[in-house]
Subunit: 478 residues, 2 copies
């Protein structure tokens, strides 16, 4: 047995009572041949390890370099230094792994986020990414906890799918056919019946349709898994591979859906605030520092933690799409022609419009409902006005859309009619239509982009900095 | 707001005090125009809804068919019937969705598992699959809870990967290139630099290598995500797409690793036993029923719940690979030539050998350690005997291998030498080798096949019956 250590976070939470302790971690800094700041990833707060002068060999001291791995046994005593309650007075030090300080890619200085993206295999060892990924963990756990407490069943919907009916975007082909010389039919087309699954398959863009199968049996289910878009969008907001949470609820209408989404978002943010106070404080400071580079007028009115407090303590604004368009049309922004894209009823709102609504007009998350049917998917419930569907998007300051959802069209005839209008092949979705044939019920659901909410909570402006190893056009490193 | 219902599980857990309640669910059976067994997926236990004779229209009564969806408001009263504490005396009944009893694919009779696999979109509505997927949910939640309590960070390792170095099996190609006419280089080979990621990419077979990057920063991480094998194995034990849990721990040796795996498996089984007692009891009965078709000698000595109790209350057996081979060689089974495959030191044990060890010899889960290096992966830590590596497999009765893990080779030179021997390109894994260059530490981890543990806990013999929509050769329906 090797692992007899106490984690730094647990040690720092205790009292300095002269007890013995063994810690293991990586050197962040080593000052005056005396003070090691040791980090083991459990917290950004380093443990100060104090080396009595003369007690350790010079050869050992020379090996205490940035990122070297140490095992230290010593006595936990009250700290003389400021900023820390306790420190570890070292009795024995073992170098577990050396680190050539000159070759180590992360020097003890500030690196740009762009640089760290190229060192994604090591960036977890920085305070920024330590905080981001511990918060990401907490949010993921809070998501499971929230749904588990409500009795939702966690459903793993398929990643590889033969269905491309949702039409949410371009898809990645999954295949074992050889590109070099794929089997062909007599007419020269590719013979996918020879492929692994006996047909053409893709990576899923959403688990919703399968999620509805679960909801109409278990009542309430959620998914939490990877989804994919083969869109050539090289922006700070897009990933080709990202994680999505998709709850789906039977016996649920659009209002229930919006209520759940709001409660859910507030719950998981509150959870992170309670469990990651240190990490959020670090990121708050980081963001303030970053904002210093901006002109006063572009800085946020609220700091990171104030922003989160505001979101958990205030109801989200709820407006219809029609009201949203009216607000835009009546804005000075519009009248002064400051929008790049025109505004009229029926448009698919652009990012600039959404940002105006949440950042300038309401200054809080907004739930927009009842969009024109022509800009929304076939499965959304048709409203009685003949023009709109029971859709909802949740827009958040600084991020834009974090949730997209709807009440689903549970009426077989209406659904089939809409599928015909939108050229969705009925036979491919026979199983989906069966739920409307046998005990159909009002039901609804939504999708939350996990990286978007991690961005919102951590204040990171590039989505590539909130997922471990981002997948983007021309980049699949690590 | 539509959703003012109480879930059946919650209602059944309360007392019949004459309170008003609204429930929504699907009809399982309707007897004597009086008794509806209503199920809403929260539990297999149906709510008995009692219709006073003459109170409801005949046209309504005719629409109360198997799988029709109802909204019922009524009074909760003590039940006269046996087997249930309370029932709902209906005041109003609303048909939310009809179900044509003659067309509904699941008739109120016993269907074979094979038949239900073809109706995977509806099989959640049966007691068997209701239980299986609620237990699957509980196990998934318990996994997150276990690691969260221990301070592990949940890491989402990439699904699309350019690395195929692990060599754990055949991989699926992921691409946006057109099969019809892919771009080619001058020498005629496919030009993957034109592909979405600028290189050839595949679906991951394991998140372990990336997991090690997380562990050597956060100390302890785990993954829980889909993994893929493009193997043409059409068996009851294999899926092309399955979910895997891969914890990875810094400062950890093989013994720590085995300890954690054992504690982990016992924890999640115990959690399911505490939270899914009804579902397990149903599956226990189901399995007893199934076993009646077998000859006495082939029936299990323990029933499902006794088996789980045995596993959570007894230590797993721990033996080395060398000891395992000795046991096999000295067995009567071997001496009577009952093994199909020969036994000698160095073999990759076949399923029949593993089953002999766990089912005949030890009759409990067995952790086998220190396998010959030639049958194991490059990253496993080399033992001092020069012949074996610090690997461990956990074998479970009835399932076979549920966990595969190892202490990792943390010594750069040894690792590089082994990679060279096994023709693993160093340059492709530069990032992996960096962890050994900069503060390397003893570390270890394992992978648990999620569907295998769901099978073990639910007693389902075919792996296709424990994942919602199985992906297997020539099959990607739904």
């Amino acid at each position: 047995m090797f692992n007899n250590r106490i984690k730094v976070k647990a040690l720092l939470a205790g009292e300095p009572a002269g007890q013995q302790a063994t810690v293991m971690g990586w050197v962040r800094t080593f000052r005056n041949n005396q003070f090691v700041a040791l980090n083991d990833g459990s917290t950004n707060n380093n443990l100060q390890v104090v080396l009595e002068l003369g007690k350790f060999d010079d050869t050992l001291l020379k090996r205490i370099t940035t990122s070297a791995a140490l095992k230290v046994t010593g006595t936990v005593v009250a700290s003389q230094g400021k900023g820390q309650k306790l420190e570890l007075k070292a009795d024995t030090i073992e170098i577990l792994g050396d680190s050539d300080a000159e070759k180590y890619p992360l020097q003890p200085k500030k690196h740009s986020l762009e640089f760290l993206r190229e060192k994604a295999h090591l960036r977890f060892r920085t305070n920024t990414f330590g905080s981001v990924f511990r918060i990401r963990h907490s949010l993921a756990f809070a998501i499971h906890k929230f749904f588990n407490e409500k009795g939702f069943v966690y459903l793993h919907t398929p990643i590889i799918t033969a269905s491309d009916a949702e039409g949410a975007g371009e898809m990645f082909r999954v295949s074992t056919l050889p590109f070099d010389n794929p089997p062909r039919r007599e007419d020269g087309t590719i013979d996918f019946s020879e492929d692994f699954f006996g047909r053409a398959t893709n990576l899923t863009v959403s688990g919703q349709l399968e999620g509805e199968l679960g909801a109409t049996a278990f009542g309430e289910i959620y998914t939490f898994g990877p989804t994919f878009r083969a869109e050539n969008s090289n922006t700070a907001r897009h990933l080709a591979e990202f994680w999505m949470i998709e709850p789906e609820m039977a016996f649920c209408d659009l209002e229930d859906n919006a209520n759940l989404a709001e409660e859910f978002i507030q719950y998981i943010i509150r959870y992170a605030m309670e469990h990651n106070a240190d990490d959020l404080e670090f990121l708050r400071q980081r963001l303030l520092e970053e904002e210093k580079a901006k002109p006063q007028t572009e800085r946020s009115e609220l700091d990171l933690i104030q922003k989160l407090e505001f979101v958990v303590n205030n109801q989200f604004e709820r407006i219809t799409y029609t009201e949203a368009i009216d607000i835009l049309l009546q804005s000075n922004h519009y009248k002064k022609k400051k929008f790049q894209y025109d505004v009229s009823w029926g448009i698919d709102m652009q990012s600039e419009h959404e940002r105006y609504l949440v950042e300038k007009h309401f200054k809080k998350p907004v739930i927009v409902t009842n969009y024109p049917k022509d800009i929304k998917a076939f499965y959304m419930r048709q409203n009685e006005d003949g023009k709109t569907v029971a859709a909802m998007d949740i827009l958040a300051p600084g991020i834009g859309e974090i949730v997209g959802g709807s009440q689903r069209e549970e009426r077989l005839e209406r659904l089939e009619q809409r599928m015909t209008e939108m050229n969705i092949p009925h036979e491919e979705l026979w199983w989906y239509l069966d739920t409307r044939r046998f005990g159909t019920v009002p039901h609804a659901g939504f999708g939350l982009g996990f990286e978007r909410i991690v961005q919102f909570v951590t204040g990171m402006s590039n989505i590539r900095d909130v997922i471990a190893f981002p997948r983007t056009p021309k980049s699949a490193e690590f």
